[in-house]
Protein backbone atom coordinates (compact mmCIF):
# COMPACT_ATOMS: atom_id res chain seq x y z
CA UNK A 1 0.00 0.00 0.00
CA UNK A 2 1.36 3.30 -1.04
CA UNK A 3 1.16 6.29 1.20
CA UNK A 4 -1.38 7.87 -1.09
CA UNK A 5 -3.69 4.96 -0.80
CA UNK A 6 -3.35 4.92 2.97
CA UNK A 7 -4.13 8.58 3.24
CA UNK A 8 -7.01 8.07 0.90
CA UNK A 9 -8.50 5.28 2.97
CA UNK A 10 -8.22 7.29 6.16
CA UNK A 11 -9.81 10.20 4.45
CA UNK A 12 -12.58 8.11 3.05
CA UNK A 13 -13.36 6.62 6.42
CA UNK A 14 -13.56 10.09 7.89
CA UNK A 15 -15.88 11.30 5.19
CA UNK A 16 -18.23 8.35 5.36
CA UNK A 17 -18.38 8.27 9.12
CA UNK A 18 -19.03 11.98 9.36
CA UNK A 19 -21.68 11.80 6.68
CA UNK A 20 -23.51 9.05 8.50
CA UNK A 21 -23.39 11.07 11.68
CA UNK A 22 -24.75 14.10 9.79
CA UNK A 23 -27.82 12.24 8.73
CA UNK A 24 -28.48 10.31 11.87
CA UNK A 25 -27.65 12.78 14.61
CA UNK A 26 -30.58 13.74 16.75
CA UNK A 27 -29.16 17.08 17.60
CA UNK A 28 -29.21 19.53 14.76
CA UNK A 29 -26.13 21.38 15.94
CA UNK A 30 -24.28 18.14 16.06
CA UNK A 31 -25.32 17.46 12.52
CA UNK A 32 -23.97 20.77 11.42
CA UNK A 33 -20.67 20.12 13.13
CA UNK A 34 -20.38 16.70 11.64
CA UNK A 35 -20.96 18.37 8.28
CA UNK A 36 -17.89 20.48 8.93
CA UNK A 37 -15.91 17.32 9.44
CA UNK A 38 -17.16 15.87 6.21
CA UNK A 39 -16.29 18.95 4.30
CA UNK A 40 -12.83 18.93 5.74
CA UNK A 41 -12.33 15.38 4.60
CA UNK A 42 -13.39 16.36 1.14
CA UNK A 43 -10.85 19.14 1.17
CA UNK A 44 -8.10 16.67 1.92
CA UNK A 45 -9.34 14.64 -0.98
CA UNK A 46 -9.01 17.59 -3.28
CA UNK A 47 -5.48 18.08 -2.13
CA UNK A 48 -4.83 14.45 -2.85
CA UNK A 49 -6.18 15.00 -6.34
CA UNK A 50 -3.67 17.81 -6.81
CA UNK A 51 -6.43 20.40 -7.10
CA UNK A 52 -4.84 22.61 -4.50
CA UNK A 53 -6.88 25.66 -5.22
CA UNK A 54 -10.08 23.74 -4.87
CA UNK A 55 -9.00 22.36 -1.52
CA UNK A 56 -8.47 25.86 -0.27
CA UNK A 57 -11.72 27.11 -1.75
CA UNK A 58 -13.51 24.17 -0.14
CA UNK A 59 -12.24 25.10 3.26
CA UNK A 60 -12.80 28.79 2.89
CA UNK A 61 -16.17 28.76 1.14
CA UNK A 62 -17.86 25.59 2.21
CA UNK A 63 -16.64 25.33 5.76
CA UNK A 64 -16.00 28.95 6.32
CA UNK A 65 -19.19 30.25 4.79
CA UNK A 66 -21.81 27.61 4.22
CA UNK A 67 -21.33 25.42 7.24
CA UNK A 68 -20.91 28.53 9.42
CA UNK A 69 -24.15 29.82 7.95
CA UNK A 70 -25.82 26.61 8.98
CA UNK A 71 -24.45 26.83 12.49
CA UNK A 72 -25.47 30.47 12.78
CA UNK A 73 -28.94 29.72 11.52
CA UNK A 74 -29.37 26.78 13.86
CA UNK A 75 -27.89 28.52 16.86
CA UNK A 76 -29.68 31.80 16.46
CA UNK A 77 -33.06 30.15 15.97
CA UNK A 78 -32.63 27.23 18.29
CA UNK A 79 -35.84 27.80 20.16
CA UNK A 80 -37.88 28.03 17.00
CA UNK A 81 -36.09 25.27 15.13
CA UNK A 82 -36.99 22.50 17.53
CA UNK A 83 -34.17 20.01 17.38
CA UNK A 84 -35.02 17.41 19.93
CA UNK A 85 -36.76 14.08 19.56
CA UNK A 86 -36.56 11.39 16.88
CA UNK A 87 -35.34 12.95 13.71
CA UNK A 88 -36.30 10.33 11.18
CA UNK A 89 -39.72 10.43 9.50
CA UNK A 90 -41.96 7.48 8.87
CA UNK A 91 -40.54 6.58 5.49
CA UNK A 92 -36.99 6.13 6.66
CA UNK A 93 -36.95 2.37 6.02
CA UNK A 94 -37.91 2.64 2.41
CA UNK A 95 -35.55 5.56 2.03
CA UNK A 96 -32.69 3.52 3.37
CA UNK A 97 -33.45 0.73 0.94
CA UNK A 98 -33.61 3.18 -1.91
CA UNK A 99 -30.33 4.75 -0.90
CA UNK A 100 -28.70 1.34 -0.87
CA UNK A 101 -30.19 0.57 -4.24
CA UNK A 102 -28.91 3.84 -5.57
CA UNK A 103 -25.45 3.09 -4.39
CA UNK A 104 -25.59 -0.41 -5.72
CA UNK A 105 -26.90 0.76 -9.06
CA UNK A 106 -24.26 3.42 -9.44
CA UNK A 107 -21.56 0.97 -8.49
CA UNK A 108 -22.83 -1.60 -10.93
CA UNK A 109 -23.04 0.81 -13.81
CA UNK A 110 -19.67 2.30 -13.13
CA UNK A 111 -18.02 -1.03 -12.76
CA UNK A 112 -19.03 -2.07 -16.23
CA UNK A 113 -17.32 1.01 -17.64
CA UNK A 114 -13.96 0.35 -19.12
CA UNK A 115 -12.13 3.19 -17.58
CA UNK A 116 -13.20 2.26 -14.09
CA UNK A 117 -9.83 1.08 -12.95
CA UNK A 118 -7.78 3.62 -14.76
CA UNK A 119 -4.66 4.81 -13.10
CA UNK A 120 -3.75 8.44 -12.81
CA UNK A 121 -1.38 9.94 -15.35
CA UNK A 122 1.44 12.22 -14.46
CA UNK A 123 0.82 15.88 -14.62
CA UNK A 124 3.37 17.23 -17.09
CA UNK A 125 6.10 19.21 -15.40
CA UNK A 126 6.01 22.88 -16.01
CA UNK A 127 2.29 23.23 -16.26
CA UNK A 128 0.81 25.33 -13.62
CA UNK A 129 -2.71 24.12 -12.90
CA UNK A 130 -3.53 27.20 -10.92
CA UNK A 131 -2.52 29.60 -13.62
CA UNK A 132 -4.39 27.54 -16.14
CA UNK A 133 -7.44 27.59 -13.91
CA UNK A 134 -7.19 31.33 -13.64
CA UNK A 135 -6.99 31.65 -17.38
CA UNK A 136 -9.90 29.28 -17.84
CA UNK A 137 -12.12 31.25 -15.56
CA UNK A 138 -11.66 34.60 -17.27
CA UNK A 139 -10.76 33.75 -20.85
CA UNK A 140 -13.44 34.52 -23.42
CA UNK A 141 -12.91 31.26 -25.23
CA UNK A 142 -13.02 29.33 -22.00
CA UNK A 143 -15.43 29.63 -19.13
CA UNK A 144 -15.85 33.30 -18.47
CA UNK A 145 -19.54 33.19 -19.22
CA UNK A 146 -20.48 30.60 -16.61
CA UNK A 147 -18.27 32.43 -14.22
CA UNK A 148 -20.09 35.70 -14.70
CA UNK A 149 -23.47 34.02 -14.64
CA UNK A 150 -22.57 32.40 -11.37
CA UNK A 151 -21.84 35.84 -10.01
CA UNK A 152 -25.22 37.03 -10.99
CA UNK A 153 -26.74 33.96 -9.46
CA UNK A 154 -25.08 34.78 -6.19
CA UNK A 155 -26.36 38.30 -6.37
CA UNK A 156 -29.86 37.05 -6.99
CA UNK A 157 -29.62 34.61 -4.16
CA UNK A 158 -28.43 37.34 -1.88
CA UNK A 159 -31.22 39.68 -2.73
CA UNK A 160 -33.74 36.90 -2.61
CA UNK A 161 -32.67 35.56 0.70
CA UNK A 162 -32.70 38.99 2.28
CA UNK A 163 -36.11 39.70 0.95
CA UNK A 164 -37.61 36.37 1.93
CA UNK A 165 -36.15 36.31 5.38
CA UNK A 166 -37.02 39.85 6.25
CA UNK A 167 -39.84 39.97 8.68
CA UNK A 168 -42.73 41.98 7.38
CA UNK A 169 -42.86 45.37 9.04
CA UNK A 170 -45.92 45.68 11.17
Amino acid sequence: MTPDQFIFLLCAALIIASAIMVVTSKNLVHSALWLVATLFGVAILYALLQAAFLALVQVVVYIGAIAILFIFAVMLTRRELRDKGPQLNQNWGLSAVMAVFTFGGLFYILSSWSGFSAKAVEIPVGTDPLRMLGYALVSPDAYVLPFEVASILLLAALVGAVYIATASKK
Binding site: Q5, Q87, A118, A165
Partner: protein, 103 residues
Protein backbone atom coordinates in the same frame (compact mmCIF):
# COMPACT_ATOMS: atom_id res chain seq x y z
CA UNK B 1 -0.86 8.30 -8.32
CA UNK B 2 -1.47 4.77 -7.51
CA UNK B 3 -5.02 5.26 -6.44
CA UNK B 4 -7.37 3.83 -9.06
CA UNK B 5 -10.15 6.02 -10.22
CA UNK B 6 -12.66 3.46 -9.00
CA UNK B 7 -11.95 4.31 -5.36
CA UNK B 8 -12.92 7.91 -5.86
CA UNK B 9 -16.01 6.99 -7.79
CA UNK B 10 -17.15 4.50 -5.19
CA UNK B 11 -16.55 7.02 -2.47
CA UNK B 12 -18.56 9.67 -4.21
CA UNK B 13 -21.33 7.17 -4.87
CA UNK B 14 -21.44 6.27 -1.22
CA UNK B 15 -21.46 9.88 -0.12
CA UNK B 16 -24.22 10.61 -2.58
CA UNK B 17 -26.35 7.77 -1.26
CA UNK B 18 -25.88 8.89 2.30
CA UNK B 19 -26.88 12.38 1.37
CA UNK B 20 -29.89 10.95 -0.42
CA UNK B 21 -30.92 9.08 2.66
CA UNK B 22 -30.64 12.23 4.68
CA UNK B 23 -32.87 14.13 2.26
CA UNK B 24 -35.50 11.45 2.21
CA UNK B 25 -35.59 10.39 5.81
CA UNK B 26 -35.07 13.42 8.04
CA UNK B 27 -37.92 15.33 9.56
CA UNK B 28 -36.35 18.70 10.03
CA UNK B 29 -36.12 20.89 6.96
CA UNK B 30 -32.67 22.15 7.87
CA UNK B 31 -31.47 18.59 8.08
CA UNK B 32 -32.71 18.06 4.59
CA UNK B 33 -30.55 20.93 3.47
CA UNK B 34 -27.61 19.29 5.12
CA UNK B 35 -28.28 16.18 3.11
CA UNK B 36 -28.33 18.23 -0.03
CA UNK B 37 -24.95 19.63 0.84
CA UNK B 38 -23.56 16.14 1.15
CA UNK B 39 -24.87 15.23 -2.29
CA UNK B 40 -23.33 18.31 -3.84
CA UNK B 41 -20.00 17.48 -2.34
CA UNK B 42 -20.18 13.99 -3.73
CA UNK B 43 -20.73 15.46 -7.15
CA UNK B 44 -17.78 17.73 -6.72
CA UNK B 45 -15.52 14.83 -5.83
CA UNK B 46 -16.65 13.08 -8.95
CA UNK B 47 -15.95 16.07 -11.13
CA UNK B 48 -12.47 16.70 -9.83
CA UNK B 49 -11.61 13.00 -9.96
CA UNK B 50 -12.57 12.87 -13.59
CA UNK B 51 -10.55 15.98 -14.28
CA UNK B 52 -7.52 14.45 -12.65
CA UNK B 53 -7.85 11.07 -14.24
CA UNK B 54 -8.80 12.42 -17.64
CA UNK B 55 -7.10 15.20 -19.58
CA UNK B 56 -5.59 17.58 -17.07
CA UNK B 57 -5.07 20.17 -19.78
CA UNK B 58 -8.78 20.77 -20.09
CA UNK B 59 -9.91 22.42 -16.89
CA UNK B 60 -13.59 21.84 -17.34
CA UNK B 61 -13.75 19.65 -14.27
CA UNK B 62 -12.34 22.19 -11.92
CA UNK B 63 -14.34 25.06 -13.33
CA UNK B 64 -17.49 23.06 -13.02
CA UNK B 65 -16.62 22.30 -9.40
CA UNK B 66 -16.18 25.99 -8.72
CA UNK B 67 -19.54 26.74 -10.24
CA UNK B 68 -21.06 24.07 -8.03
CA UNK B 69 -19.58 25.81 -5.02
CA UNK B 70 -21.27 29.00 -6.00
CA UNK B 71 -24.57 27.31 -6.62
CA UNK B 72 -24.42 25.46 -3.33
CA UNK B 73 -23.80 28.64 -1.48
CA UNK B 74 -26.65 30.41 -3.13
CA UNK B 75 -28.95 27.53 -2.55
CA UNK B 76 -28.18 27.28 1.15
CA UNK B 77 -28.76 30.95 1.63
CA UNK B 78 -32.08 30.97 -0.10
CA UNK B 79 -33.11 27.70 1.49
CA UNK B 80 -32.55 28.88 4.98
CA UNK B 81 -34.32 32.12 4.26
CA UNK B 82 -37.26 30.15 3.02
CA UNK B 83 -37.30 27.94 6.07
CA UNK B 84 -37.35 30.97 8.33
CA UNK B 85 -40.13 32.52 6.35
CA UNK B 86 -42.13 29.33 6.40
CA UNK B 87 -41.60 29.03 10.15
CA UNK B 88 -43.04 32.50 10.61
CA UNK B 89 -46.18 31.41 8.82
CA UNK B 90 -46.71 27.89 10.03
CA UNK B 91 -44.62 27.82 13.19
CA UNK B 92 -43.11 24.51 12.15
CA UNK B 93 -40.04 23.26 10.36
CA UNK B 94 -41.06 19.64 10.16
CA UNK B 95 -41.28 18.74 6.49
CA UNK B 96 -44.19 16.39 7.05
CA UNK B 97 -46.30 19.15 8.47
CA UNK B 98 -45.87 21.37 5.40
CA UNK B 99 -48.57 19.60 3.44
CA UNK B 100 -50.73 22.34 2.03
CA UNK B 101 -50.37 20.92 -1.46
CA UNK B 102 -52.41 17.82 -0.79
CA UNK B 103 -55.51 17.01 -2.78
Amino acid sequence: MSIPLSWYLVLSAALFSIGLFGVLARKNAVAILLGIELMLNAVNINLVAFWRYGSTASLAGQVFAIIVFAVAAAEVAVGLALIISVYRRRTTVIADELDLLKW
